[in-house]
């Protein structure tokens, strides 16, 4: 067996409480099975998600990141997701500019009603990250430059 086949990525999901977290609950109450590779962190709102937490997760060994919250106009706090979206545009741009692989950081709007979408988003993410293989570009930075 090759490592590609056995590689199970660890994915950290940063989700808002009102839409995606509730949506993921709905996936559960609907008993829709999906890949178990994802670890969900609950935030009140996507607006609260600090890009540094994403960075830390990648540095610590996350193979992929999934950031998800309410669809535009559906934010429980009305505009948190809009603010988040703008921040992510810039964050992605800077990651790209510094040469990091953007395919490891995924974004999705998943509403409280989209239990099935949550399962699908997780499955797609896991599949794609599994194809990319283990993330090393962040973790290897720990060692570089230390005597």
């Amino acid at each position: 067996m090759t490592t590609e086949l056995t590689f199970e990525p660890k994915i950290v999901a940063f989700v808002c409480n009102w839409c995606t977290y509730a949506g993921a609950d709905l996936t559960g109450t609907s008993r829709i099975a999906y890949a178990s590779n994802v670890r969900i962190m609950r935030f009140p709102c996507t607006g609260r998600i600090d890009y540094n937490l994403v960075l830390k997760a990648l540095e610590q060994g996350a193979d992929g990141i999934l950031i998800s919250g309410c669809h535009p106009n559906d934010c429980h706090y009305s505009t948190g997701n809009f603010h988040a979206r703008r921040r992510w545009v810039v964050f992605r741009h800077m990651m790209e500019y510094m040469g990091f692989d953007l395919r490891r950081v995924k974004f999705a709007w998943v509403s409280a009603a989209e239990g099935a979408k949550w399962a699908e988003v997780v499955n797609t993410t896991v599949r794609e990250i599994r194809e990319l293989g283990p993330a090393t570009e962040y973790t290897e930075l720990h060692r570089k430059g230390v005597a």
């Binding site: 610590q60 720990h142 430059g145 230390v146 005597a147």
Partner: protein
């Protein structure tokens, strides 16, 4: 041992350095990127920069790296496994291309870290480091080594000192056993020589008269008002400290998680506003005035009081690196005059 003399050509010097890398010893030498020159691990001697002036960053990282793992730890059930790194092999390294001021600085730095409770890391590295220096044929307006206890042809701290003596040729002084050991392998590349007067090939360094007696003057100048104006344009960055061959302030920080990680030592600078900040919010050195004073006092008053020499070898790097043109030569002259003026009856 007594000094051994020899001569070798530039061509053979390169061959010798190539031989060092081929022989498995790590070679560190200046390498140029853009306008800046850094000591770097060299695998191809053609990459070595033979710039006449001191490098941008000093060679101190060879003894005292920017980041160094002091220990690593990993949770092991109920206890903690800690690796103290004593078993780590500190490989023999050859440092080529230091200027005499750098070599003096390396020696002083090693002395500092050995004082009192010895620092194993610096000590071991110093033991394993072979320093091949190049005498200075050129000095710039920021140099003042001759007034700071060194000189363009000073062999202190070097194992081998090379002086370019015209025509792609170097006069070589082998100053230590370590130097001789390294050379032994490359017997064919150099010729025996005799003591020669190299002074004609050495740079003329503008003296800094203010430095004489400066330490004594500083001792009484802590409360002087000269510091405020002198430090006004200082931005409070650490550029001067980080390029300095003798600045040795550091920080100790843990990285990782409580289950697995390392304790790291990293460079720090007394010029940073948070360097002395207490958790209570109290800061004994609240503004750049006090921090600049500390830098100058530490180098020219406290260090001499403790170690008999200044914490400065006059290499001029800080003056070249400063984004606000805090020129150390000029500062010393100005402070000296200012203090003298204030203490005049």
């Amino acid at each position: 041992m007594s000094t051994h003399h020899g001569v070798l050509s530039h061509q053979n010097l390169l061959k010798l350095l190539s031989g060092i890398t081929a022989g498995g010893m790590e070679l560190y030498a200046p390498r140029k990127t853009g306008q800046k020159v850094f000591f770097d691990h060299i695998t191809d001697v053609r990459e070595i920069a033979f710039d006449p002036l001191p490098t941008t960053e000093s060679p101190k990282a060879l003894l005292f790296p920017r980041v160094e793992r002091l220990l690593s730890f990993a949770r092991d059930g109920e206890s903690m496994r800690v690796d103290d790194r004593c078993a780590d092999l500190m490989p023999r390294r050859v440092l080529f291309g230091t200027r005499p001021c750098d070599a003096v600085a390396l020696q002083r730095l090693a002395e500092f870290f050995a004082d009192g409770i010895e620092d194993m890391f610096v000590g071991k590295r110093r033991e394993q480091l072979v320093v091949i220096s190049l005498s200075c044929a050129v000095a710039d307006a920021d140099c003042f080594c001759t007034s700071a206890g060194s000189g363009p042809g000073d062999g202190t701290g070097s194992d081998i000192l090379l002086t370019a003596s015209g025509g792609e040729r170097y006069d070589m002084e082998v100053l230590t056993d370590r130097g001789r050991e390294v050379l032994a392998t490359f017997a064919g590349l150099w010729d025996e020589g005799s003591p020669a007067d190299t002074s004609g090939y050495l740079a003329v360094v503008e003296p800094l008269p203010a430095l004489a007696g400066f330490g004594a003057k500083l001792a009484g100048a802590f409360a002087s008002t000269v510091w405020k104006d002198a430090s006004l344009r200082c931005l409070g960055c650490g550029a001067c400290a980080y390029v300095c061959p003798l600045c040795s302030c550091f920080d100790i920080e843990d990285e990782g998680t409580p289950s697995k990680g390392s304790r790291l030592r990293c460079w720090d600078s007394c010029g940073f506003s948070l360097f002395t900040l207490h958790t209570s919010g109290h800061n004994p050195r609240p503004t750049q005035t006090e921090r600049w004073r500390q830098r100058v006092m530490h180098k020219f008053s406290y260090m001499p009081a403790r170690f008999g020499h200044a914490g400065c070898v006059g290499c001029g790097r800080c003056s070249r690196a400063c984004p606000a043109d805090m020129n150390l030569r000029e500062q010393i002259t100005m402070l000296d005059a200012g203090i003298a003026l204030q203490s005049a009856p």
